[in-house]
Every structure is written in structure tokens, then in C-alpha cells.
Symmetry: C3
Subunit: 118 residues, 3 copies
């Protein structure tokens, strides 16, 4: 069977799953919920950088991204942080919609699939 | 062209689609909407088991999962059923957010991509 | 490294990303927000046709689709347009949930992954 490699497994999910040249990340959420949308987005994107590196990928290799915002009106603020982080020559497909997240003060969750560096 | 195999097609969608070593499942929802979140989650996970078997995969080969809950506060109850079902050595990436679903009494919908047993 | 080809990149995302025999589309939304759900769905599906052609795919090769509706009660109207557009012999996996979208009059957003014509 084709190999599946899982990283950072909790009792319910794995934060990164490698298979067939791709890496699937679990929805990443901030830990410090006292932050505003900019701070929460920065924390989530840092966690994504770390997970992608662990799984042999990189933000320039992201294919598709789902972003959920607790308040869609904060999209522009999220996008400012996103633009400062993303590789402008290698931008992924992306969809951003509003959804209530796992905690009332959680403002952003980001899930993605990326190609490995191979 | 690379082969695509579709299972359980309704007039609008296919419940499972095989391509390139992967299986994509449509969002699975419960039929018996009189059940609570635990019962509805159990029914959905059983439907997923059956679809994965039909498409030549298995819950231990799931890569990434999207879960929508009509009420995010029911996440812990859903997770209890999930943990009893999931293969603890082979956990997928996963994201869970709140969304209104196709019927007011529909409490959970689950969509996923899995690797085939090959 | 495996090649990634990106189409129609804006400052924040690419509308289509090709990798490994697949095409990932960004969430497509209507531009003319004066339209009702039927008109908005038609506009989005036309944009999808054009993007799939540009990226070497076709609606008959779609594997999995996410649809967000600003009002889930408009699902049947969206589905009428969907059924008139979709290839009934080649239906994808699909999930449809409610979510607030990027503008108050935006009624539908559609994101998908398709196999290339190869």
C-alpha cells in the first residue's frame, strides 16, 4: 500500500499527513486567544510554516487553502497579514468564508494542502 | 485520460469518486434526523465505512476530513463518537467548524479524502 | 521538484493551480451581485468552465466540490442551475453548507478540485 506518514497526532487528528507527494494540514487555530485577528493570523501562519517544514514542504508549494473567519468583516485585516506572509510568486487557490469556530474568541482557522519539495 | 470511477451517483452528485489512488467522498449526512448528535455522528461514520469499502479504501487510510456541526458546542459529543470510531494509530488531518446544514434538524456533515488500499 | 502551474494570480491567491494531474480552483464568486441565486450560480459555473479549460480540465473531470450558500434555503434553486450545468454521467463528490460570504449580497461560492485531461 502507498505510504502515509502522520505528524503531531493528538487523540483525534494528525496535524499533518503526507501521502503521494502531498501534505494535508489539519485546520490550524491560534493558542493565544487574547490576540486580535492580525495576531491570531500571524500565529496560525507560523504554525503552518513549522508543520510544512516538518512534512517536507514549504509555503511556496501550497496548492489550496481554506480559511474560516469568525467574522468575515475581518477579512481585510487577515489578508494584510496573509499578504505579508505569502510568497507572491507562488500563490495558492483559496476560499475564505465565515464560520463559528471551536472557541468564542477564536477568530481564524486555516487548513491547506501542499506539494512536497520533491 | 486518467480514469475516474464514481459510486452512488444521485441526480446532483456522486457519493464517492476514485481517481489517482485517492477516494473523495461527498459530504455525508444522517438520514434519521430524530437522533441526537451522537446518533447522527454514528450513522454518518457508518455510511463512511461502507463508502470507503466500496471504493477500495478504509478509515485507517483517511488523509483529510472536514466536519460541519450545526452547533459547534456539540463538538465534544461528536468527538466522543469520533474517537470510538477512528483508528488511533492512523488519524487524519481534520477541521471542524459550525455551519447551517441542509435541514434544521441535521446536526453533522462529514466530507473526506482517503488513499486507496493500493 | 514536481511542477506547480498557477493561473490568474491576484495579490492574495491564484484562481487555478495545476499540480500532479490535478487542478485546484479558488473559491469562485459572482461579480454581478444584483443577480438572484440562480443568476449568481450561473455566473460562477461559467467562470469555472473558463478556468477549467485554461488549466487543461473540464467539468466532466471534477472530483470534489465545496459549495457555500449565504442562505441554505436557496439550495434547491442553486441545484436547479447546477443540474442544468453538470455532466449527469460524471458527477463529483460535493458538500453544500451555509456560510456568510465576502459581501452581504454574495449568495454563492464554489471551490473544487478536478483531474486534468491527461
Amino acid at each position: 500500500m502507498s505510504a502515509i506518514k502522520r505528524h503531531e497526532s493528538s487523540p483525534i487528528l494528525s496535524d499533518a499527513v503526507e501521502h503521494g507527494g502531498l501534505v494535508y494540514l489539519a485546520g490550524q487555530v491560534p493558542e493565544d486567544l487574547s490576540q486580535d485577528i492580525r495576531g491570531q493570523t500571524r500565529e496560525v501562519l507560523s504554525a503552518i510554516d513549522a508543520l510544512l517544514e516538518k512534512a517536507g514542504s514549504h509555503k511556496s508549494r501550497i496548492l489550496s487553502v481554506n480559511i474560516w473567519l469568525a467574522d468575515i468583516r475581518q477579512r481585510e485585516e487577515m489578508n494584510e497579514v496573509w499578504k505579508a506572509w505569502a510568497d507572491p510568486a507562488h500563490l495558492p487557490a483559496r476560499a475564505t468564508v465565515e464560520a463559528k469556530l471551536g472557541h468564542p474568541r477564536m477568530l481564524v482557522e486555516i487548513m491547506l494542502v501542499a506539494a512536497k519539495n520533491t
